[in-house]
């Protein structure tokens, strides 16, 4: 068997690899991506310009160098990102020694694998296009490799432009891929799914790009504001809460070390009592994008936890495993509920604790306020009014705070966003003797009226405060709302300056909102299709109570039904494209028309003889002879430009026989 690769094959394999690796390349450090692309281009150049092949020293240097770079950067080969980057590096190194068919096959096949692994990171709608293009190219490369193995030379240079010749290389693969789509859809719908995973997901899939963390120090949410990617989408059954009620509760933070707020381990216990839903309750389902965290978000106050999650004493929803793929859950929230009518002494102490000798000015201010407003609620109102009336500004562009963060913010800086306000507010409350804590989460969201769902982006991340009031329990206070009501009405976007460049352009924002509607549909119908949905679907078509064996039989039968006619269709289509067949069809059409005009072809007659014989029947036989000569030249002569075939096709389709001496007598 032939073992050498032709250069078009090498180019196609390299192209397939680059396309399959594209999303991985964008996710890895630039220098590494450049090195990989460089290796691929080098291999392509070797094939194109017939350069010298790299020796074993260069090859092993590439391989081990790549390994070293990956471990230097990621510190491990474990974990999804490091592993896939390593795979890319290894395939790129393999390219440098890809001189035999077997190696090319390995590289091409790993292309499929690279494509599949990309979906561990993201399953966006756009990536479906990547899936199709990538699979088509890899398949085309495999077809070319097999042609090389059978020593069938690439189609001769028939004068077609380069673009067309490249497209032809990819044609067979694309055809195969397109034909396989219906089969894939059937399998996708009917193949039994796992209700629960067999093993866990490695951590750290999102390259550190995560949602809310369980700690907060002013400045940490800021990186989320620029991130317009969706955090989750919510669909309400029935009532939709008003906008100022859309506080999506995440981690609740109690501890404060002067700079950073963190959770209380004690919060992990179960709540003493849970709300009972009544008519005012909201029922909704949330589609949560992967976040690598265990937080699920719900409006105040969730009455229970979805499957594999639990409800904490602070009414946080905590999942057993981090959310690594798109997941959906249903929640019911009861807004009308009193959280902790009694506050335990220990908790009260924690909720009042401030680090010693920090923020003296804030403490002093709190004492003044306390003297003036003995009532807690009056004091809070006074603080909010202070925020509202004095020169406090809401802006995402601010500076980090130092040791006496609340002092600096309240008395000097006065420019900041939710974290700054919430943090300073809680410090002030604690200093005034009111138990207070911070709640982080998301606020608001974009209502997509046509599809009836609420899109909450990472940029909707928010932090607010809860104070404990006698008789009311924990009560939400949002100091940011006092400063910038638009933040609550319109989201954090309202605070982004107009100078955000093209990325922030309004039309683009609208376009992205429209795109998200498609993405939502995609998430619901394709990505959200899990074991439960499959059962529902099977129930709807009446296949749910079949035993497993029978379902397998249905699966196989359907697959066969879909697949087999496709093969015939594929070949039919392929024939449509083949130029020789186009030629023959043109000729057959001429023959049929001749037959109808009364010139019967005889067996063993050459086309030219037939055409010559038609002269005594037709007036335009000379045109026919010209056409026939052209047909013979194209069919049996040397290779000709594809345009000639087109022209023959057009001319033969246009030609009609016109009969000689059409007397009415003969016609009858």
């Amino acid at each position: 068997m032939n073992q050498t690769l032709s250069s078009p094959t090498v180019l196609l394999v390299v192209a397939a690899f680059l396309v399959a690796a594209l999303p991985h390349l964008t996710a890895m450090p630039g220098w590494l991506a450049l090195a990989i692309v460089g290796a691929a281009v080098w291999r392509a150049l070797i094939a194109l310009l017939d350069l010298r092949r790299p020796g074993w020293l260069v090859r092993s240097a590439l391989t081990f160098g790549g390994l070293a770079l990956v471990i230097l950067h990621y510190g491990t080969f474990w974990g999804r990102r490091a592993a896939t980057v390593l795979l890319c590096v290894m395939v790129a190194a393999k390219l440098s020694e890809m001189f035999r068919l077997r190696d090319a096959r390995v590289v091409a096949t790993l292309g499929y694998f690279l494509i599949a692994t990309q979906f561990l990171f993201s399953q966006q709608l756009l990536l479906f296009g990547y899936l199709l293009v990538g699979c088509a190219l890899v398949t085309a490369a495999l077809v070319r490799i097999q042609r090389d193995a059978d020593e069938i030379s690439p189609p001769a240079d028939d004068g077609a432009p380069d673009g067309i010749r490249v497209a032809r290389l990819a044609r067979d693969g694309t055809m195969l891929m397109l034909m396989a789509i219906p089969f894939a859809l059937v399998m996708f719908t009917l193949f039994p799914r796992l209700g629960s995973p067999l093993w866990g997901m490695p951590e750290n899939a999102l390259d550190g790009r995560t949602g809310l963390s369980d700690e907060m120090s002013p400045g940490t949410i800021a990186n989320l504001f620029a991130d317009d990617s969706p955090a989750f989408r919510a669909e309400f059954d029935g009532l939709v809460p008003p906008r100022d009620q859309l506080y999506w509760r995440g981690p609740v933070l109690w501890r404060f070390d002067g700079r950073t707020w963190s959770r209380l381990f004690y919060s992990n216990r179960a709540p003493e009592r849970t709300p009972r839903p009544n008519d005012g309750a909201f029922a909704y389902s949330v589609q949560l994008e992967p976040s690598e965290r265990r937080w699920l978000f719900a409006l105040d106050y969730p009455v229970g936890a979805p499957a594999d999650a639990r409800l904490s004493a602070d009414f946080e929803l905590i999942r057993k495993r981090p959310v690594t793929t798109l997941m959906s859950y249903d929640v019911i929230s009861q807004p009308d509920f009193r959280d902790a009518p009694e506050l335990q002494q220990t908790l009260r102490r924690i909720a009042l604790h401030l680090p010693d000798s920090s923020n003296p000015r804030t403490r002093q201010r709190a004492e003044e306020l306390r003297r003036r407003y003995p009532d807690d609620e009056a004091l809070i109102d006074a603080v909010l009014a202070w925020f509202n009336q004095e020169e406090f500004f809401y802006s995402l562009e601010t500076v980090p705070l130092g040791r006496h963060g609340a002092d600096e913010f309240l008395f000097d800086l006065r420019v900041g966003y939710c974290e700054y306000y919430a943090s300073a507010f809680v410090v002030l409350m604690r200093a005034a003797g009111i138990p207070a804590r911070i709640v982080t989460g998301y606020q608001g969201g974009l209502w997509q009226p046509s599809d009836g769902y609420l899109l909450v982006r990472q940029s909707d991340a928010h932090a607010w405060a809860e104070v404990w009031l006698e008789g009311r329990g924990w009560t939400r206070v949002d100091p940011t709302a006092a400063v910038s009501p638009t933040r609550i009405d319109q989201g954090a976007r309202s605070a982004l300056s107009d100078g955000a460049g093209w990325f922030g352009a309004e039309w683009l924002y609208q376009l992205r909102n429209q795109y998200d509607r498609l993405q939502n549909l995609w998430n619901k119908s394709i990505l959200g299709f899990d074991a439960q949905r499959q059962r529902d679907f099977l129930a709807r078509i009446g296949l749910d109570d079949l035993p497993t064996g029978a379902r397998a039989a249905v699966l196989v039968a359907l697959a066969a039904i879909v697949l087999v006619p496709l093969v015939f269709l594929a070949q039919g289509l392929a024939r449509l494209v083949r130029k020789t067949d186009r030629l023959d069809r043109g000729w057959q059409r001429l023959r049929r028309r001749l037959q109808r005009a009364g010139v019967q072809p005889r067996s063993g007659e050459t086309p030219l003889e037939l055409a010559a014989r038609s002269t005594d029947r037709l007036t335009n036989a000379d045109e026919l002879i010209t056409l026939t000569e052209k047909y013979c030249r194209l069919k049996y002569g040397p290779a000709t430009a594809i345009e000639e075939f087109d022209r023959f096709e057009a001319e033969s389709a246009a030609w009609r026989p016109s009969r000689l001496n059409q007397s009415p007598l003969k016609q009858s």
Binding site: M1, R102, T109, Y112, F113, I115, A116, T117, F119, L120, Q123, F128, L131, C135, T139, L142, V143, I145, Q146, R147, A149, D150, E151, I152, D172, L176, M177, M179, A180, I181, P182, F183, A184, M187, F188, F191, R193, L194, P197, L198, W199, T325, I526, L527, F529, D530, A531, A559, L563, V564, L566, V567, A570, Q571, A574, R575, R578, T580, D581, D584
Partner: protein
Amino acid sequence: MSSSRSSTKRAFPEAGLAPLIDALQRRLDGWIRRRGPVHPPFTLGYRQIYILPTRFGWLVGLLLFAMLLGSLNFNNNLGLFTTFLVSGIGLLSMHIAHRNLDGVRIAAVSPGQAFAGELLPLAITLQDTRGRGRSGLVAKIRGGDTASGSDLPSSASADLKVSIATEQRGWRELPRIRLRTRHPIGWFEAWSWFWPAQRVLVWPRPAEHAPPLITRGNSDDHSQAGDESDEFHGLRDWREGDPLHRIAWKASQRHQHLLARQFTRPERERIVLRLTDAPGRTLEERISIMTRWVLEADRRDLDYGLELGSTNVPSGRGEAHRVSCLDALAAYG
């Protein structure tokens, strides 16, 4: 496809087992006929075509299984879709590989010529009977190298070349030929065995060291190189078929068209090669030496004949004569 279906239809319901045995017999006959040597032309039907994954195909299957498990485990729907898409491509490729052979007619198997120990070329002429083009058809013989593959345009024919190793002179059966395809992506191999009921004559191996030809009266060095020893006669117009070395290049240039030198040979040497003259311990050695002599005589453009005892080849020269001499030697004994 076998045509055994069209035979007897018996109407003896009381015969009990007889129709069953008859059917079994017919099936067995068909089976043997399908697998025994057959005269071309012979059309491959679905019953003659086997298909299995290649080693590479198995590896891809393993990879797909891993992808399936991973995607199922993480409920990764796009990963799952990719897996099914690639599996679909694989299954399609299986069908295509099968259809690529189905309806291919082996129109003829034309053996070439070879001396024992050399490779004997076979040309296998394939025709398409279904009006669809075939790609990447390869013929292979057990133990032989795989020759290059070929495409078969729709309703046309194509030749595949294989070569078989030869060891002994004489008639030999053609081996079973494996016609296979891995089109389109090499994950599945469809193949069919074809055993042409044909024989081919392998010429004897020419001896490496043979005594010089015994030519009548003359010593060897005198009668060397036919052309130079002949007398130059004149020039005539070059005709198709004249050997290139006879062209008188200089003269042709002067006359603006090709001229060939003409020689006359007043008396051509005529020799008879006798098996009894050939030294050697065994018959094979002597045949081998005879073969060398035939080649030598042919090279020198002598008139020569063979006397092998039972078979004789009258004197003559030229390509056809050489072939009949070699054939006679090959078939001797």
